[in-house]
Symmetry: C2
Subunit: 489 residues, 2 copies
């Protein structure tokens, strides 16, 4: 008996601050002692009455612990009492408990070996981080009121699994919006709600392409697209962009024919060029011939600064092999995690069955609230407020760069959206500049992170949307100072 | 002029009920006419003043429409006026606009060709659908209050992209819960919040295995696991289960060595057997030798009806190659779309970088509210109310089956969770029985849908959680009647 009470040690029973009941704790200690060999097979455990007394526990607690051990096969109970069972082929833990048996690299799949994103949510909030909207300008109270409305007396069905293609009222609201605002030609049936563009890309990669097939991605381009495609087992082919957007050489169609083509025709990400009509039509024609799907990522066209938005590629030609991708991460807020796809009518029915298998869709309250947000006019109103705000912030950034930026370079993009691209001379490496900036609490992104494996380009992508105009001058001065300090080292 | 006004047709300009402004409508009609060749290259458009008069529009509307067409390259403006541009290499739409150029099957990837889930949210709400908790018993008001609290004055950071591994307070709450309630041995760092078990499986399949590698899945077993693995390009190997759960033949380890092993040891899905300790230890040992990961799906152990829950496999052996998967779809509600994984400590750091790339995480308000729901005791309280409710509903189902079921068969499972499995004799094919039931508004699931390609078994999985006990007798009588009618046809 002494042995066991020592082993179980009252202080240990009481030391832990968590809320585990003592019978559970007793069970845990006995189980561990059996597993690690401190209690050998054949050992008789003390009678419950005795152990309860020894440990100052209720007898019922001991009985429950014994029962559970018996249920799981750790002990056997008979008239003779409770006996520790013989454990067959117990696995040995690795030699040193600090070291895993296999290197972590080998635990991961090959396809994700290159993935190692260390960006934190804190970094996302720093000045100049691209892709972050004006978070403090979002009408939180309106949103809260609409959510509250959904939750005030919800049909229990709203708590269950929801339609794979999205809530009907949200699909309708999106259809109306993209038809009028983006020249997308679609019926509501063609609209599919997703968990944001990353989710849309995942779904397209898996539903439309098989491992080993090729995907063309703009170079430089959106890193999230590269990751989604590589994870799906596809081979990424970088396709250069020029000042008119995606520019595949003619031979590429023969030599490396794509199954998917990822492009940002309305505002190339991150360089900002706009794909002209002639190239759009040619791309559609060639994609159709090649049996390829075009994924048109229209990530920031809501915020056009130089006139009405260009019409989407999707609506240019009837039955074009184009899937239009939209997101609410910029127009609402990123944490909402809602986006959408507009797919050709011929694909909808089969895709519904596929998505029904692939995804479990929920977030019904958020979807219904977003539909109300759009239908009651708050969405249009919010965009109408954000456009001049972002235009003003972009202008402030341009002015500050003109005033303080000391290196030769060109400002690219800015026809719409939330960022500018700034080319750098070779003697100011973008990675070094971005690192120096980050040390000072600024987060422009080097062109390098948008590289797809093609010819490297040198420059910074600078987001302006989440920085007030009146702070822009000071921030750019800090940036110049940081880059200078980085170069001096 | 007459031609163009006919082409543009005032009535058409006004017919549509959507909110598109008329200048946008004019632009659309002209653009379409140019694209489909009704307006040929070189055609001069009328002066804006003239067209405005003809159509009864403000002149500014016409000017804006022309400007946009010019910006997109549809027309050229010069002193001579506005001339339709020549469109290079215009793609031709397919011959019949009703028919797609390629069969839809060919548009989809091979890996999803077999996916075609037609289950609707309405079907999910029918009596006997497995996996749906008691939706009307969820404390909606408490949940609304907690969400409201998060939204009452949120830090703008909560609206941005959020940590890839989940909100810190939710990870902490989950760690405390699984340690005490599930015998999971972990630090908070090992807990990763996901968008539900389907998302967890997707992440594991991609981060831990490459296309062509093998995954063992229990047969019969969870269809969602099969889909996730096939989508990731893995080869599914069905492994039979017996009345003690997963039972791989020894030779299988050599002949078809797995990279992943998907299992439900605490309550085999859907047959309900419990994997005994000896098999658990052997499985861990053999998986370690094979370099395989065990995915332990603990989908419904919160609702144990026959005593305290069994400890998870995850905590059995130090550094076992086990990833523990939990979900809030049953314990909270499915539409919440939150679940979690507990991964070995050695994997956490690299996995963080991989997930940072693979996923964009948000739903911050829901995550923070869920943490509060757990920390304030509502979660435990809800489970404490649901356990007897589900036990009562299960008992009612058993009694009703004993009273009315006319075919020989065995009731399996029910030690925990939300469903029972009922075997059927060969002359009552489960698919036929399930179809007949569905016609009468009942939704038990045939064993067939849980098949993984192994030896077929015949029976029905019957969910009882979302059906009040007092209705159970009538529902079972309806089911018997429906199956009889189905057999008679």
């Amino acid at each position: 008996m002494t042995d066991l009470t020592l082993l179980l040690d009252r202080r240990l029973m009481r030391a832990r601050k968590d809320t585990m009941p003592r019978q559970r704790r007793l069970y845990e200690l006995l189980r561990q002692a059996i597993l690690d060999g401190r209690l050998l097979a054949g050992t008789a455990l003390p009678a419950s009455r005795v152990l309860a007394q020894d440990l100052g526990l209720a007898r019922n607690s001991v009985i429950h612990a014994y029962e559970q051990l018996a249920a799981e096969g750790y002990v056997q109970t008979s008239r003779q009492g409770t006996i520790v069972a013989a454990l067959p082929s117990r696995p040995k833990p690795p030699a040193s408990s600090a070291q895993p048996e296999v290197p972590v690299g080998a635990m991961l799949s090959s396809r994700v070996q290159s993935f190692n994103r260390r960006r934190t949510p804190e970094q996302d909030l720093l000045p100049f981080m691209p892709g972050i909207p004006a978070l403090d300008a979002f009408p939180v109270r309106t949103w809260r009121r609409l959510l509250q409305g959904v939750w005030s007396d919800p049909d229990p069905a709203l708590l269950s699994y929801r339609p794979a293609l999205g809530e009907p009222e949200l699909r309708q609201a999106i259809a109306t919006y993209v038809r009028t605002a983006r020249g997308v030609v679609c019926e509501v049936e063609q609209v599919i709600v997703t968990g944001g563009t990353q989710d849309s890309l995942d779904l397209c990669a898996h539903a439309l392409a098989d491992p080993g097939q090729r995907v063309w991605i703009e170079h430089p381009g959106y890193g999230g697209a590269r990751v989604a495609m590589q994870a799906a087992g596809l081979r990424v082919v970088p396709v250069p962009v020029d000042d008119q957007g995606l520019a595949p050489a003619g031979a590429l169609w023969r030599r490396q024919p794509p199954r998917l083509i990822y492009t940002t025709p309305s505002h190339q990400y991150p360089l900002g060029s706009v794909l002209p009509l002639a190239r759009r039509l040619a791309l559609i024609e060639q994609a159709r011939t090649a049996g390829a799907w075009i994924l048109e990522d229209d990530y920031d066209s809501e915020f056009r600064h130089d006139g009405p938005p260009l019409a989407a590629m999707q609506g240019l030609v009837p039955q074009a092999p184009v899937i239009y991708l939209g997101t609410f991460s910029k127009s609402m807020f990123p944490a909402l995690r809602l986006g959408f796809m507009v797919v050709p009518a011929a694909l909808v029915d089969r895709l519904q069955g596929v998505l029904g298998d692939l995804v479990r869709r929920g977030q019904s309250a958020e979807q219904v609230a977003l539909a109300a947000f759009i239908n009651e006019g708050h969405f249009t109103q919010h965009l109408r407020k954000m456009r001049p705000l972002y235009a003003q912030r972009q202008a402030a950034l341009r002015e500050a760069l003109a005033r303080h930026w000391t290196w030769p370079g060109e400002v690219l993009g800015g026809a719409c959206g939330l960022h500018l691209a700034l080319t750098l001379p070779d003697d100011v490496p973008d990675v070094l500049a971005a690192e120096a900036a980050l040390k000072k609490g600024l987060s422009p992104r080097p062109f390098s992170v948008y590289g797809m494996g093609g010819e490297p380009r040198n420059g910074l992508v600078i987001g302006y949307a989440n920085t007030p105009a009146e702070q822009m001058d000071a921030r750019v001065r800090q940036l110049v100072k940081a880059v200078n300090a980085g170069l001096a080292r």
